[in-house]
């Protein structure tokens, strides 16, 4: 569906060049859920913004290509990009409360979005919006469509955002931490709803999150990001069964598990580096428990120690492992 090749997004700041996204490549296939996983500052959100054409360049320095339907999106004009957003790429944001305009009813906002992209009458758009709201489980959709965002709870509003995004029938759905601001019971509802709707419509989803528990529930494939790099690519089953990169291993171990009660929790030492002071060589080496001589000097390329796996770590230089 979408192919990203050697994408770089750099920002010039007073502290130096911020290499927020530094040479990443990935492919999002038809009807799959691809998860970009990483902690704050790893570049996952900047990747999405670049994909959506929302990073202004200049001042930002963007390199590489984003191929969609045989075209490089980086060559699109502003106007063309605007037509892509919404209709081709739907987006669900983290904070439903701040993503809606507080001065318009949710109905106004849903109808507007529909009519920008499709030649439908207002009453037709309203009818479609109500149907969509019912589909995402908003009770009394007819009445609630006249409400303002502040009259709804966070979980409810996130459903409305999903309804709005999906009513435009996008080919690709980009979900940036869609359940992070929600409570666990509401998160469970929203995630199972997204999964259900994806099955029905066959949309591809690019799922951005820091929560590996959520990833295990919804994703087909996972790309783990750290400090602007994709450090590991794998299917969800492979990754949880056998994480290869020491960072992924650390992340998986840092879950607070029942068996640890009364014991010290395993942890990754140190802190996530700031974007303008990424270390030389492998960017994970100051925190890596398996650091070798080469790591601080040269950045590792992506190795393929197992078929279908890709990992950016010198440990796998020797090639295949059993």
């Amino acid at each position: 569906m979408i192919q990203v090749n050697h994408l770089k997004t750099w920002f010039k700041t007073d502290e130096g060049m911020v290499k927020a996204v530094d040479d990443i490549s990935f492919t999002l296939n038809q009807t799959e859920v691809l998860a970009l996983v990483g902690e704050s500052g790893c570049g996952k959100s900047v990747t999405v913004l670049t994909l959506m054409g929302l990073v202004k360049s200049p001042p930002a320095k963007i390199e590489g290509e984003i191929l969609y339907k045989g075209r490089n999106l980086r060559c699109l004009s502003k106007e063309e990009y605007r037509h892509m957003r919404g209709k081709e790429f739907g987006m669900i944001f983290q904070e439903p409360m701040s993503s809606f305009d507080p001065l318009y009813t949710i109905g106004d906002q849903m109808i507007e979005a529909l009519r920008v992209h499709y030649p439908v009458s207002e009453s037709e758009a309203k009818k479609q919006s109500i149907e969509m709201l019912q589909k995402v489980g908003i009770p009394e959709a007819k009445r609630r469509i006249e409400e303002y965002p502040h009259q709804m709870s966070g979980g409810m509003l996130q459903r409305v955002m999903i309804a709005l995004t999906l009513s435009l029938e996008p080919k690709i759905l980009i979900a940036d931490e869609p359940s992070t601001a929600l409570d666990v019971t509401i998160q469970a509802q929203v995630l199972s709803l997204m999964k259900k709707l994806q099955k029905e419509t066959g949309t591809s989803i690019l799922f951005i999150t820091h929560d590996l528990g959520v990833v295990a529930e919804v994703a087909d494939r996972i790309h783990v990001m750290y400090a602007g790099w994709i450090v590991e690519k794998a299917t969800v089953f492979d990754l949880f069964k056998r994480p290869l990169h020491p960072y992924t291993q650390g992340l998986l171990k840092s879950r607070v598990q029942r068996e640890y009660k009364g014991k010290t929790l395993p942890f990754i030492s140190g802190y996530v580096p700031r974007a303008y002071e990424f270390p030389e060589g492998c960017r994970f080496h100051p925190r890596c428990p398996k650091v070798m001589e080469i790591c601080p000097k040269t950045a590792p390329p992506a190795f393929e120690p197992l078929s279908g796996r890709e990992v950016k770590c010198w440990l796998y230089e020797k090639g295949d492992i059993q």
Binding site: T185, E217, V256, F267
Partner: protein, 330 residues
């Protein structure tokens, strides 16, 4: 015993109109009673809006409770009621003994104070006789204790990452050598890889200082790991209370069961959210439902639930639940 909370309740008035007349109440905390003894860790868990933060703030008296009582036992063993009329010297002991770590390490440290000043403030208040040199020495010790360097004393909060700031917050909270530290979501603003570091640090500190902890969190795994005893809250009420392992292994309240079912398992081969049954959202605390607060979402709701509010009933060793399902069984 350090602290005993009896029927704590907190209503926030909603004011409307030109004369700001009270138009109703947000019933943030309806009913909570429990004790914390020396060296014990109590966890409070629940979703947003369940009143857990309000309860923490009522205990440290950031909020004045609408009704209910807090009893505090000082270091000599005498019991005092903490309210508006509590004499200042006793209040000062209370403040020294009960400290707090806040959720957001970015807003809870004064950006214009150096780390040294931040850590010295509690020392100035609670150990006025300590010499300047002694205080500096103590600040250095505190920084080392939380895994930072004494050289950081002259730096400002903005120079530190979220995890480091939370360490500074923790150092500040233990500076007065409190007997109880209340932690309101101490790790939820941090990255996953840093969370465990802070959790380990809190455990270490407890082993050295032998202080009690009150943990407030929505993260069930974390609460289980840290707590001896837990309280599950829903819509301002404590609905289940008991030994942490017991409540986790045998949750009795339907809400607790649902809450535990909603945590993803980190196992792609055993996806469970598809069967997730709990629908709807918690009702508004302005108009809480009559009877059991959970009855509007409960899968096992009965006729009595909408009429009568269940009280806490024992269901095994150190385990209590407020649910009509249990009261009907022999």
């Amino acid at each position: 015993m350090i602290l005993k909370v009896e029927h704590a309740r907190k209503y926030f008035p909603i004011r409307k109109g030109v004369f700001l007349q009270v138009a109703g109440y947000v019933k943030a905390l309806e009913e909570a009673s429990f004790e914390i003894t020396e060296g014990e860790t109590v966890g409070i868990v629940g979703e947003s809006g369940c009143g857990k933060t309000t309860l923490g703030r009522v205990i440290v008296r950031i909020y004045e409770p609408t009704s209910g009582q807090i009893q505090y036992t000082d270091r000599n063993g005498s019991v005092h009621t903490i309210d508006k009329r509590t004499p200042r010297p006793i209040m000062k002991h209370f403040r020294r003994d009960v400290q707090m770590v806040f959720q957001d390490p970015y807003n809870s440290l004064d950006p214009r104070m150096t780390i040294g000043d931040i850590l010295k403030e509690p020392l100035d208040v609670h150990f006025p006789k300590m010499s300047e040199k002694g205080k500096n020495q103590k600040v250095g010790d505190l920084l080392l204790r939380v895994g930072l360097y004494p050289e950081y004393m002259n730096r400002y909060p903005h120079e530190f990452s979220g995890g480091q700031r939370q360490r500074i917050s923790i150092a500040r909270s233990i500076a007065s050598e409190p007997r109880l530290v209340i932690c309101d979501e101490p790790t939820s603003a941090l990255d996953v890889s840093v969370q465990s570091q802070i959790v380990n640090l809190l455990k270490d500190i407890q082993q050295q200082q032998r202080n009690a902890f009150l943990f407030i969190s929505h993260n069930l795994d974390l609460i289980h790991h840290l707590s001896d005893r837990i309280l599950v809250m829903y819509l301002g009420n404590v609905v289940e209370e008991g030994n942490a392992t017991r409540v986790f292994d045998h949750p009795r309240h339907p809400y607790t069961q649902m809450l535990m079912g909603a945590i993803p398992d980190w196992d792609p081969e055993n996806r469970k959210l598809r069967e997730f049954k709990l629908q709807g959202e918690p009702p508004s605390p302005i108009n809480p439902p009559k009877g059991c607060p959970f009855h509007t979402r409960c899968p096992e709701v009965m006729e009595i639930c909408s009429q009568e509010k269940p009280s806490m009933i024992g269901c095994g060793d150190q385990h209590q639940t407020a649910c009509h399902l249990l009261s009907n069984k022999p």
